[in-house]
Structures are given as structure tokens and as C-alpha cells.
Amino acid sequence: MRIGVFVCHCGSNIEGTVDTAAVARAALGFPEVALATDAMYTCSEPGQDAIVQAIREKGLSGIVVASCSPRMHENTFRRAVERAGLNRYMFEMANIREHVSWIGKDREANTNKATELVRMAVEKLRRNTPLFSNKFDVTKRVLVIGGGVAGIQAALDCAEGGKEVVLVERESSIGGKMAKLDKTFPTVDCSSCILGPKMVDVAQHPNIKLLACTELKSVGGYVGNFQVELRKKATYVDWTKCTGCGQCMEKCPSKKSEDRFNERIGVTTAINIPFPQAIPKKAVIDPASCRHFLKGKCGVCAKVCPTGAIDYEMKEEVLTEQVGAIIAATGYDVFDISKIGEYGAGRYPDVITSLQYERLLSASGPTGGHIKRPSDGAEPKTIVFVQCVGSRDKSLGRPYCSGFCCMYTAKQAILTRDHIPDSQVFVFYMDIRAPGKLYDEFTRRAMEEYGARYIRGRVAMVYPQGSKYIVRGADTLLGTNVEIEADLVVLAAGAEAAAGAPALAEKLRISYDPYGFFVESHPKLRPVETNTAGVYLAGSCQGPKDIPSSVAQGSAAAAKVLALFSKDKLESDPQISRVDIKRCVGCGKCILTCPYGAIKKIDFRGEPKAEVVATVCQGCGICTSTCPQGAAQLAHFTDDQILAEVNALCRF
């Protein structure tokens, strides 16, 4: 074997604290190393060309690059090696930047460590064998979980790309949080005007199969061949017959049931259609407040329904779908203000969240667009907005900034001044975060044109006094505390991970951060991909973001899926396990421990043997560490290869 070692300076990132020339000199002395040089930027084009040239001229059969993390540029160099005609797996990397040069200044120790890491890489490379991926066909269908604006955009783009889409939405209608908005910043254009048509497109698009009131039950298989189980909840209304006429809603006697769509600011009937532009516009019975389920009598809706769509005996059903890719667009939840004692913990009726206020502003809301105090229905004159509620707050475990509260509060201030011209609007803020296009100008309009009074300081306490609410805040610019007697207090509650997001992450086998948001493959370079091939992210499920970013990520995720499906056959990752039929004694331990069921028992000349299904194996290596006699070996991470690295460190 003739190995080429390339030690990268990475500008000064590595050269700053590692003597790369010394590492190269030492590497020349390693077994089977034919060439060892150091280069300024190995990952740059000239850098890569130098490698290709060296392979061709010197007839090298393996390359070691000592530079940054393989998680960063392993594929880059593998492609370069492939360009030169070598198998892309005859390549190893030594991470001498993130694990060496960046974590310490001791040049002598760093150089010695880098040399040893190169030695380990060379020893592993000497045991590498060319690997060839084989092809497997792809189910060119995509599952989009979550029907918010991001999910809708992703579904539409994929459908437009000619691929079949299964859009799954937990609630009875798509639209997510945006459907609950009256207007959107910074253009103050009506939310349902821009979202409604997209929702209709989803309903009418031939390629999109919309499944509302449905949740993901389980995911099996792998990229290109996911088997997905979906749990369709019982709506107690047969949607094939329901025309959405709304008769049942008018006649339903139980008027006090919880109105989840209107954020519990109003009440609604047990059987209801969340909002006029709902897609699908079908009724759903809430068993928690329907008298038929609670007391066993009633049945008014069954009587009045013109198409006889009511079916109390409806049961939950499980559907299965075959898809090739999954886009998670499950959005976020509003921070639960009952956790903040000093603002009344949700006990005071007129201390509401911004989304509840948005429902009051909305024409399709419980008050038909007239701002009324939930307590007595009176029109509030002094309205106080409190920013950073449940955001930028370590004591509540939410140290991050939710990003879009400053903007929607400015919008709501403007709308309030529109709805009630003689109203007094105060906004307690710490810093105005308005980074987008026309964003800052929009907040300035709220202050300059609409006279919203912005007070720089946080609110310590809100308590009722008579019919008013004393908001005790501070004005740090003035350098004192301030009190306002408010009629209505709107808390700009921040965004937190959707309830159940961690459970969904575990089903999709993607990881989530301490707050429950899904973790992307790379924060800057791969924001919509995850570490699990074939699973993509879009919208606030990956972190709080506003509508433009969510839509952009919806399209980005769709683009990724379309790129995935552009190839007829997908190449399987060749780093999978293989069973040596000579050594296998058929003890079945590997079959028992394989998380993916990727190993099956075969009969070989009368003796039981194990055999790995190439396409199902994900390359975790559990079977390799379980097989006592080393019959199962994970390609590229075989026992010998890892032992070579251990021996490089410990034997000599």
C-alpha cells in the first residue's frame, strides 16, 4: 500500500499551535507512507487538486488528511479521492483542529498529539478495503408532519415537483398558528387572505393526500423506504358525508366547551368547525364536553345533520403509508403564562397572551374583531403590552429570545390604535429585536405614527385594583419604576417546543435540544436536514422563527426532498455490516440485538447462518460488538480497524 499524508495548516487555525511540517516529517516515517506534505488549505480547490495529482503521479492507494473534523469535510475529500480514481473509502481523516489546535496553546504537546492522531489514521487506513454501495429503489412519496405554514409550503412545493405528498395534521384543520392570526407584520396584510388560498391549493392539489386529526404512531425502515404508521383519531363525524354546513354547531346545546382554536379566550360548541376558512371544513365532536359522551343522552347534532354524518361509535384507526422522505414541520407552542406568578399566573381574566389578543382582533374571532375585555366585555382604553414573557428568562428555563414577539407586539399596537383611536398603548420592552426587511421601520411607525408609548424596562408585577390592573414596571432610561393602571394587559408570551416534540423526535430517531426543539444537522450549513438521512425539518419545530423564515424553510426542505427523489435509485451507505459465512455458527445473537431487524437467519448447507439485509442495515455496529467470534464485521469500522487504532496508541 502507498499512503499519502496531507497535513493542513487551515490558515492559522492549525498552524497557529501545531507544527504541521514536523507532523508531515514524522508521518513519512510511518509504515507504508510514501508521501507526506503539509499544505495551506487542503480543502480548497488547489488543495484538493494537489491530492488528486499526487494520487495519479505517485500511484498512491490511500490518503490521510490531517485537518478539521470529518463531520465537516469527510465527504469533500472523499469526492476528491474518487475524482482521482481511488475508492472513496480508502481515505481517513485526523481531526487536528477541533480536537487539537483549537483547544490548547501548548505547541509541543499539540504537535505530538497531531502526530499520534495521524499515526492512528494511517494504521486504520492500512486496514481499509474499498467499499461499494449498491443501489436500491426509492418510494417517491413524502410525508409532511404538521400543517402549519411551513408544512403547507413544503407540501405544495413537493406536490408541484410532481411527488405524492401525505400531509398529516394533528388538529382538525391545517393552518397552524398562522391561521389564528388576524394580520401579519410588517405589511399588516390579512393573514387569512395570504394563507387561505394556499390552504385551498393543498386541499385541491391532486398530489397531496391531506389527513387531519391524525398523528404519527411509528416510523420503520430507512431513507427511501420508510414504513409509517399513522393514528387517525376518532372525530365522531363521518367526513365523507359532512359538507361543513355548520347546522350542528348552531343547534348543539353544550355551548361552553373549550375553544382551542381561539386559545380558550372564547367558548364554542361541543361539535365545531374551528374557523370559517378551515381546510378541511369538517365538524369534529369534542368528547370531553359533548353531552352524549358525558351523560349518555342528547344527540341533537345527529338529528339536525342533513347528511347524517354523525357517528358516535367511530373508533380510532391506524393507517400505514410507504414514503421515501419525511419533513417534520410541527411548529411551536405559546409559553404557558400560568408559570409566571407575578403576572397573575393566568388567574386574572384580563391578563392574556398575545395570541389570545390576536383572536380578539380577528373578525372570525369570538368578539368579531371588536376588542373587548374578557372579564366584562368593555372596550379597554389603556392597554399595556409586556415583552419577553417566558423568553430571555433563565429563572423559567427559557434563556433564548423567541425572535418574533417584538414584531407582533408592534403590529398589535398599531391595530389597537386602529380599532380604538382614543386608546393608550404602552409597551414594556428590553430591546427591540426587528432584524428583517422593513421590520425596524415598522416598529418605528408604531411609536412615531401610532403613538404607542415604548417604556424600556421590565414589568415586575401585575395586580388588579378595582376594575383596573396595576402594571408595576420600570423605566431604566428614566431610572425609576413606573406604574400604569391598565384596562387590559397583553403578555407577549414567547415560543417553546410543541408539546410531544421530544416523543416525536424519538420516533423519527432525530435528536432534540434541552428545550425540545429538533436539532438540525448543522446550524449554519445544513439548517433543514437532520442527522437521520431522509428526515428534514421546516419551521419553528427547529427553533422559533417568523413566517418568512418558516416558509423559506418549507421550500428548502421540499427542495432537499426533490433532490433526494431526483435519482431513481438511491445509493446505500456501504458502511454496513457483513457476516462472514465461514465464521458464523448461527447462534443468533446478532439477530436478537439488531435495532433495525436487518439480519435474518438463513440455511447454508443445512447449517443456520446469519445474513445482513444490505438496504436495511444502518451501520450502527451493535451486531459486530455482539458477535463473539467476529463473524459480523461492520465495514469501515471492523474490529481490526479499531484494534489498529487502539494498538497504535497502546502497543508501541
Binding site: 429563572s395 424600556r456 408585577m461 420600570a474 419604576n481
Partner: protein, 186 residues
């Protein structure tokens, strides 16, 4: 407000001492003002709480230790309870009082005098002798009219005793103060 030249009037030592004594990292405070908002006595202060924190952050030792606010603080823990960054603000203010007293810069003498007579009574009797404290305070400040109006309201209740309630272990309490004053602990 005097303008500040950070290079020569920034007392880094002071900042470090406050952080060590209060075991709080002052850099965590992003000046949101919630402590000032919640503090019941802001109206009586020369500098509101968040400005005191800002002054400490920027090492303005003299301004802080000479200010009146730290003596008017009622130690009601509202600021600590509600700080979004979990800073124990009340303890920082406590530490500032310790430092101010040690350098004998007490902006409001009445409070110090009241507390001194309180501690004197504890040192001598082991338990608080309420009337004694009031008498001591009046003697020290010369404000003979303090709570004169309350005299007639409380006298008939028979709650005020005119003799201190000595504690058998009084000597031990005295020894505590003595050891403390002798600087047994640095």
C-alpha cells in the same frame, strides 16, 4: 451625574470583592429593570436598584458606597425573587452595606444608629429589649419625637416591659460579638 473615565475610575478590585462576597456573577445582569420595578422603596431611593447594579458592574465604588439607596432597602427579597437571571440582588445590596459600614461611609445615619442600638441590646441582653432599643435610638439621634404618638396607644396593652429579658447564655452572645470585633474571622 458625573461623566466617567473608564480607564482610571473603573475600580476592578471593588467589582471582584462584591462578586466574591455575594457569590454572584454581576455580568449576568442585562439591566432589564425588573428589580427596580418590583422594589417597594424605589420612590425613596437616590439610585434605583438596577442602577446600583449598573454602578457596581462599572466599578463606581465611591458613588455606590456613598449612596442613600442601600440604607433604605427593606431587604424584602422582591428583587431576588423575580430576577430573570437568577441573581441574588438582595445579597449584593447586603454586601454593599457591609462594605460601606466597614469604610464608615453611611449616607443615612438614622438607620445605622437604629441598627447599632438594636445590636447593642442583643449584645448586652442576648434578647432584644424593645423599649431599650427605642431609647437608645432616641439618645443617639436626638429625635425625641419618634413614635411619641404611639406611646398612648401601646402603653395600655401591657406589651412593653421596662426591664430587659436577660438570657442565661448572655455571656456566650457577648463572646460572639467580641470574637467578631476582634476580627477572629478575616
Amino acid at each position: 451625574m458625573t461623566s466617567i473615565n473608564y480607564s482610571n475610575r473603573f475600580d476592578a478590585n471593588f467589582v471582584r470583592m462584591v462578586e466574591e462576597a455575594s457569590e454572584q456573577r454581576l455580568s449576568q445582569c442585562y439591566q432589564c429593570g425588573k428589580c427596580t420595578a418590583g422594589c417597594p422603596c424605589t420612590f425613596a431611593y437616590d439610585y434605583p436598584v438596577n442602577q446600583i447594579m449598573r454602578l457596581v458592574q462599572s466599578g463606581q465604588k465611591d458613588t455606590v458606597l456613598n449612596c442613600k439607596a442601600i440604607w433604605l432597602c427593606a431587604t424584602c427579597e422582591s428583587c431576588t425573587a423575580r430576577c430573570p437571571n437568577n441573581i441574588d440582588v438582595a445579597r449584593v445590596i447586603d454586601v454593599l452595606r457591609h462594605m460601606a459600614r466597614r469604610e464608615d461611609r453611611v449616607a443615612i445615619s438614622e438607620v445605622k444608629k437604629f441598627w447599632d442600638s438594636f445590636l447593642k441590646s442583643v449584645q448586652t441582653n442576648g434578647r432584644l429589649f424593645e423599649t431599650g432599643v427605642l431609647a437608645g435610638y432616641i439618645a443617639k439621634t436626638g429625635r425625641i419625637f419618634t413614635d411619641l404618638d404611639l406611646g398612648p396607644r401601646i402603653a395600655p396593652k401591657g406589651k412593653l416591659s421596662f426591664r430587659p429579658h436577660k438570657v442565661k447564655g448572655q455571656a456566650e452572645i457577648a463572646r460572639i460579638f467580641e470574637r467578631f470585633n476582634k476580627g477572629v474571622i478575616s
